[in-house]
Structure formats: C-alpha cells, structure tokens
Symmetry: C2
Subunit: 355 residues, 2 copies
DNA sequence: TTGTAAGCGTTATCAT
DNA sequence: ATGATAACGCTTACAA
C-alpha cells in the first residue's frame, strides 16, 4: 500500500483545487452540489476519510482538547467520589464548548514519555487539586498563553479558581462538635503533600502543608480546637481512615471523644476502627466527615458532614474555560458547603474520674 | 504583544540553525554544552517554552494520545464500578506506552462540535462496550490506519477484542440456581441497546439486542432456563434493579422464586425491592448478580455472582494498543469469570398448592 | 557537532 | 463558486 491519500490527492483526482476540496469537508463555504458529489466520490474511491486532525489542528491553532490534570495516579482519582463528581460536571461543561478531555497526571514518572501539560496538544488546562509541585509545569502552560483554571488549588492570583469555603465549613463542623461537649478531639487529615506520610503530625509538618484543601480545612478545625491531635492519612480512602482510627483508639486513656475527618471516606474508616475497638458511634465516640458523598458500608449511620457541590464546581470550571477560550475574562468562584447533621455525632460521654 | 516566538526565532537569535535548536529541546542528538546553554538562554529570553505540540505531532505523525470511547455519558460511565476498574487498568497500560487518554463519547450530541473518533488527533482508539451505532465512526478510524481495540464489544473479526466468557459464566450461575430447585426464573438484563427501554421483553426485542454483553449473558441464562421471564433495565444502576424488582414482585402469584440479574448493581436493587415487598432473601427469593464488585447498601448479604477480572481486561487492552502501535499483531483475549456462591441464593421455596 | 532543505497535510486569504 | 498561494511550527535525513 502506498502512502495515505491527502486532501491534495483528492483535489487533484477530482479536478478541483485543494481549497475547494477542503471546503467540501469543512462546510465552511458554499460549494456547488455537483462539485461536492464529485469530490466525495473521488475521496471514497481513494479511501480518504477526511482531513488529518493533526494537520488541521496545526493550521487552525486549536486542537479541541482540554487537559484535566490530576495530582494523583488516575486509578486513585477514579476511586474518589468527589473527583468523579467534579469530572462529571467538568466534562459536561466542556462538551458544550466542543472540547474533549485529556486525562493527565501531574507527575508522570520520570522515565515515561507520556504527555504532560507542557507537551500535549491542548487548548486549555484544568488542574484538579493543584499543589506546589505543579507550579512549574503550570508556568509552561501559561506562558504558552493557554487558559488555565484550577479546581481546589492555588496557582496564583491571576488563575481562576473554583473552590470551596473549606475553612468555614470545617469550623462549622468543629463548632457543632464542641457544642456537643467534646474537648478531646482528633483530626484525621487528607494528605499534607505528595509524600503520602501517615501518622501524628508535628507543628512543623503542619506548617509545611502544601495541599490547600488540607490546610484550609485543618485551619478551620484548629480555630475551634487549637489543641486537637492531628493525624494525617496518606490518601482519602476508607482503609486510610481505618489505619488512623486504629492509632487513635489504641489507648483507652488517651483516645479522643470525637474525631473530625477531612473526608467522608476517612470518616467511614474511622467509624469502622471504632466499632472494631468496641466503641459505639456516637455514644462512645463521635465522628464527622467532609464532602457529603454516599459512602459504602456505613450501614445505618448517616455521617455528620459538610456537603459540597462537587458537580457544580466541575461545571463551573468548564464554563470558565469556555469563556477564556472565547477571549473573555473568567472569575474565581467560591462555592459554599452545607452542614449536614447526621447520626454519627452526639453528646460527649461523661469521663469516669480516675479514682 | 507580538506573535509567539517559534523555534526558528530562537535559533536565529541564538545564531544556530533551526535543527540544532530543535535537537536542544528534543535531546535526540548530541549538542555541545555551550550551544545548548546559549539556545536555552535565548529561549528563556524570548519566552519560548518548547516546541508547539501541534506542529510536532503533525511532523512526527504521532500525537501521543489514545482515545477511549465510552458508549454512554461520562457521568454514567464513572458510576459503573466495572468501567472505572477497566479504565484503571487501561490508563495504567497506556501510561507505560507513554500515551495520554482522551475521553470520548460514542455519540456526541448532533449540534456539538466535540471531537469524535474521526476528528480527534489520536494515535489509536480503545472502545469500551462498542455496539452497533459505533460501527461507522469506527470505520473512519480504521481506514485512517489507526490501531483499534475493543473491550466488551464487537467491531469485526480483525479488531482485537478483550472480552469475558459472558455466556459460560451466565450459564454457570443459571446451573447453580437450577440445582437449588428453582423453576420460576426472571432475568433482569442490562440495556438492549442505546434506547434505554425498560420492562418485559418480547422475543422480537430479544432477537434485536445490539449490546453484545447483554445478549451473551442472556443467551447463557436462557440456555438453562429457556422460559425465563426477561425484563430489561435502562442502565446498570441499583435504582434500575429496584424498578425491575418491583415489577417482578408485584403479583405474589406470578412472582419468580429466583432472579438472575446481569449486574451486581441491578441485583442489589432487586434485593432491595424484594425486602420492600416483605420477601426474605434467599428464603423467599434468590437473587444472583454478575461482575463481582463491592456494592453499596447490601448490608450483610454476599451476592452470588460471577467475578470478572475488570482491571486485567483494561490493562490487556492497553498492552494490545502498545503492541499494535509498535507494528506488531495483537490478538483477542477472552478472560474467564469466577463463580462465587454468596448468601443471596438458596433452595427454592416450597410452593403452597392452590387448594 | 552543526547546517540545509524538504516537507508533514491542512486551511485562510484573497483573487477571480 | 472556485482557485492559487502562503503560511501553521516543527523535525529529520542528509550533507558539511
């Protein structure tokens, strides 16, 4: 087989100019019916199935592709209900714009030549959960002049952000817990950074948190409970909450009466750990989450949590990209979480005085 | 601001040829350190951040992007645990190959100019759950000479397929149910086609099923229970199973003693419907699923089901694409499901004779 | 190690 | 309604 036919071949065989043939396929200008028929017939005969998208996108300066960069391994992202809900809204918003979604990882393995924000043929980028490490790649994208929108992250003041009132919502949960009489509190946090460290956090480590969501929620909680014990999880998974919960409930004398988890999945794990330790929720220990998703395996419990508008966040990001691509300005949007009191928090138990 | 700097501008300003500048960025040939430094410095000065991916991909003939086409709306796909598991394996396999994943819908709305298999700058395509409608688009891709792999679908004999032994596994479940003494059976199927019709199916409709998974599993079941009542669901969701279950359990006189659902989610819905109708599972009615995923809200039940290797399926598809891109042949693979007996199937209840 | 030159396949512009 | 032509920005033989 010879080389693939091009639009020039088709044009020549049909006895028209390349521009006419091009127009037949793009429909961007009127063409005589007879001419179109002929071109199409010739194209079919040559096995030409339409313009090469690579060439078209070079010429047009648009590829019709928007990158969605995730901080973590894609496998992890798909497991996170909040991310999928956000993606859902996002793909919706982008579809209206006529763009496809290219899934990208923030940090492709060094050796791999997988596409990155800097090397992929994209028209714009949406970063989900952008933290420090992403900054320099981001710089490359921005200096290419491509629109960038950030969901739950910080990429500088001139990059539109779609974010939550994480601090306020976390504080609201904390207030609720304090109003119930709790004084011995533990916080189970989302990851501090890419390092996936697990366990009790020192003040220094807390000061060095690079993940904006983690630090905003933590600040909200600590504003109410400055002395809370802080334990970080390596990712937002039930199993991670389980591990953290086991740590917290290991010593009956020092265990908290309430645990504030930074995600519903973590909270579900903490609850499981509590039950494993023979503690009743909420009679012996209260547990609160964050996100407002449906969690598997919680049984009859309804989590006390902050419900976030995840789909709307994604859709708003898509809309912002569309606007920027159209040359307009796009503003940051701050979404509001809704506090939901469930059945997993209750009055603080009365401590037995040490006789 | 003037037009964006190109590699030619950089080369000129650095006093080298374009090819040298190109090599500095691609690293495909040795360059004197001094030269590289100079080029890089000049590039930085001009705000040049590397080759335009669109131009590079035209020249190279590769874009580094593989399309993953889903039949349904992305939102729906993400809700399906099997699809996410498959995507998980797939993105893994493709990452090794160094390709990005472009999420595509099979059937973009007519008005939208969203990219399609025919118009996106892709190097290959993976179709998940390809049914009839996708065929013609597919034709365009194949005649562009791009590798195509299909997961759970049929795109012609020369397109490698990653599939399950759906028929055998379904038959195995049916045998299990029959061995328990059941004779009054209902099947709750996955969608027949894109139409999302719901309810009792006529033989004609059954004959016209275009979704391969649905028809393969159904044939397996009918091979054991030729007279089973067949009810189709509009999609693989717990709520759909619930709707189907309500239909089945509406009339105590005609209700089946066992329901074979084509997915675990549907089975979970059927179980919920049974409990809603005051029926105990499995004492009054047995329910079996398909997939082997963890389902939310099943309580203490362990579903009797066929466990499929979803992640492996995806990864194998990624590997197949890699092989085809390397010019090798890729063969179809048929994965085997594992029957798992749970607690949702039991002996058929003894019918009260009508006195 | 660096330079020359020839495209990659398309589409926008401007005539005709 | 159609045609001629010039980019779009880069890469890679091949030559020096």
């Amino acid at each position: 087989m010879r080389r693939r036919a091009t639009i020039a071949d088709v044009a020549r065989a049909a006895g028209v100019s390349p521009s006419t043939a091009s127009v037949v396929f793009s429909g961007k200008a009127p063409v005589a019916d007879a001419t179109r028929e002929r071109v199409l017939a010739v194209a079919a005969g040559l096995g030409y199935t339409g313009p090469d998208p690579r060439a078209a996108s070079l010429r047009r300066g648009r590829s019709g592709i928007v990158a969605v960069a995730l901080e973590e391994h894609l496998r992890t992202a798909f497991l996170d209900p909040i991310k999928t809900a956000t993606m859902d809204g996002l793909t919706d918003g982008l579809a209206e714009l006529g763009a496809g979604v290219l899934l990208l990882r923030d940090d492709p393995e060094a050796g791999s030549d997988a596409p990155t924000l800097a090397t992929a043929p994209i028209d714009a980028a949406v970063l989900i959960g952008c933290s420090g490490r992403m900054r320099e790649t981001l710089q490359a994208v921005r200096s290419r002049g491509l629109p960038v929108v950030v969901i739950e992250g910080d990429a500088g003041d001139d990059v539109p952000r779609m974010e939550l009132d994480n601090g306020e919502a976390a504080a609201q949960i904390a207030h609720h817990v304090r109003a119930l009489g709790h004084r011995d509190i533990a916080v189970v946090t989302l990851p501090f950074d890419g390092a996936k460290v697990r366990g009790d956090a020192t003040p220094e480590r807390i000061a060095s948190i690079t993940t904006p969501v983690t630090s905003a929620r933590l600040e909200g909680t600590l504003s109410v409970f400055p002395d809370a014990r802080v334990v970080s999880a390596a990712s937002s998974l039930i199993d991670e909450g389980l591990i953290a919960g086991r740590m917290l409930f290991a010593d009956p004398l020092t265990r908290p009466t309430a645990v504030i988890a930074q995600s519903d999945l973590l909270a579900a794990g903490v609850i499981r750990a509590a039950e494993e330790a023979g503690l009743r929720v909420p009679e012996d220990v209260s547990v609160a989450g964050f996100d407002g998703i449906a969690v598997d395996g919680l049984g009859e419990h309804v989590l006390t949590t902050a419900v976030q508008p995840a789909v709307e966040k994604g859709r708003a990001a898509g809309d912002a990209v569309a606007r920027m691509l159209a040359g307009e300005q796009a503003a940051s949007i701050r979404f509001t979480c809704t506090f939901r009191e469930g059945t997993t928090t209750g009055p603080a138990p009365v401590r037995q005085p040490l006789s």
